[in-house]
Symmetry: C2
Subunit: 294 residues, 2 copies
């Protein structure tokens, strides 16, 4: 069997187009321009790339985009003051503070300061709690992307056996909640799990989110299963170039799985597209409009 | 094999004694008397029994106990005003609004109004979110009791395969988080899960929290597994008496399992004891004291 390759690039591009269509509609019908504010502290090169991408894609979707860059040594109080200002700013519907923050800053305090209604990263405890409680919530973008990719293969995930390998706050834990909302049966495994291979080999849906390159091998996968690879590991090759590798040994797993996401070109493509979805949803909710059609 | 019967009554009684010891200590050393406020709306007989039990047990543990009974037709605004008053009351460290509330009242709004620091039922989204994020939080009492009972059998749950059957906000979902904190591998199953019997029969730890009497049968259980029965189902017998039955077919499962909780006398015994633990912890946290030794 050779797996269907799930084309994250195409799916993300279609999703962005749908967001752009909805943005056009709410602008025209409600004079509402969804606005996203991104805050970057310092000059981490990877963070700069992400922030630039968010800025560009939100503009392309017709949104207002506000970029705030603060110096590495900014005082926590100043960062908090900026967040408070953005909370109050009626042009801003989504606030994203790019992580990681410098060690001198209390990340939890900054996240807690964001108005949950504008928390498009879905990290505020109030959103995490609403999600854990099965209520409507702004969900973290990467898990949201995983669900959309899975549903590009299976119209319904109901009753399927899913395994989430990795229990981070950003991916694993919220992904469990989203899978439960889809009525999947979910196992959450992690570094302390025994016999991970066999746990994984029982699942119809495998989500690898551990950050260990090519950990998931062919014999971890039930023939025909759908494999979603959240890992993005940077490998330096002998020629000094950097190559991205997932948590899944792609070539051998693709020979067993029914469908699989590549790295790059899979989950990573979805994250910013889902951020736009969250910003649109937040804008509509704040304006008292019905949930948009995306 | 005949299972060890996990004696919830004894374990709860020992836990209450440890809470009482800590209450004596914080009174003596810090002039702090932990206080629990319980709010009952209406006169549901089961709720009245629970509230009376909470009142009595908190007093026996040396705590201050405040009971507020409001009429069935109380205005939501009046209930919210009471919650606000209790939030501000320095003698009150724990607030519990007995559920279910009358249909005329928005339960979510009432729970959201409770100061998360005093939310000893662990239901506020902020506590659910902190728990889901792996942070210190006030956890719902019944799942906390399930963990304590499990650890009376296994000193560590690390790496064990657990299944939680049922995904309620009160039990199933928070129990998953607590089991993850214990480094167990957790599967969460529910009414839409396929082949529940086989999922269950793989687990070292089985938590039944579905509210369907005697649903879990002997062939659902791996020989030697630990079975924690959260179900409390009321059965009327021919003679008009009411009998309590769990979600587990006790007699036949006890012949297979390694350890099992009875109903009554199992999980139910732990809930109020854990409420006292939460009230003590909340009082110490609010007073800026270290986490108590229980």
């Amino acid at each position: 069997m050779t797996a269907q390759i799930i084309d994250g690039k195409r799916i993300a591009s279609e999703l962005r187009a749908r967001v752009a269509g909805e943005v056009t509609r709410v602008k025209r019908d409600h004079e509402l321009t969804p606005g996203l504010a991104v805050v970057l502290v310092g000059h981490d090169p990877a963070s700069q790339v992400y922030v630039r991408s968010k800025h560009k894609q939100s503009q392309e979707a017709g949104m207002a985009s506000f970029e705030h860059v603060l110096p590495e040594n900014v005082a926590e109080a100043d960062l908090l003051a900026l967040v408070t200002r953005l909370n109050r700013d009626p042009l801003v519907h989504g606030i994203l503070v790019q992580l990681p923050l410098p060690k001198t800053i209390n990340t939890e305090a900054v996240i807690n300061a964001i108005d949950p209604a504008k928390d498009v990263d879905g990290l505020h405890p109030s959103n995490a709690g609403r999600l854990a409680g099965g209520f409507a919530a702004l969900s973290p973008c990467t898990p949201l992307g995983c669900i959309i990719l899975s549903k590009s293969v299976h119209a319904s995930l109901e009753g399927m056996n899913a395994i989430v390998i990795g229990r981070s706050n950003l991916v694993g834990r919220p992904l469990v909640q989203l899978l439960l909302n889809e009525n999947a049966t979910v196992t959450i495994a992690h570094s302390r799990s025994r016999d991970l291979k066999h746990l994984s080999a029982r699942a119809d849906l495998v989500y690898a989110a551990v950050g260990r390159r090519e950990m998931v091998r062919a014999d971890w996968i039930k023939p025909g299963a759908t494999v979603i690879d959240v890992g993005i590991n940077r490998l330096s090759s002998a020629d000094g170039k950097t190559r991205l590798v997932g948590d899944v040994a792609f070539a051998e797993v693709a020979a067993v799985a029914g469908a699989i996401t590549p790295v790059p070109g899979g989950v990573g493509q979805m994250t910013v597209a889902c951020l736009l979805v969250n910003t649109l949803r937040a804008a509509c909710a704040i304006a008292g409009l019905p949930k948009p059609g995306v």
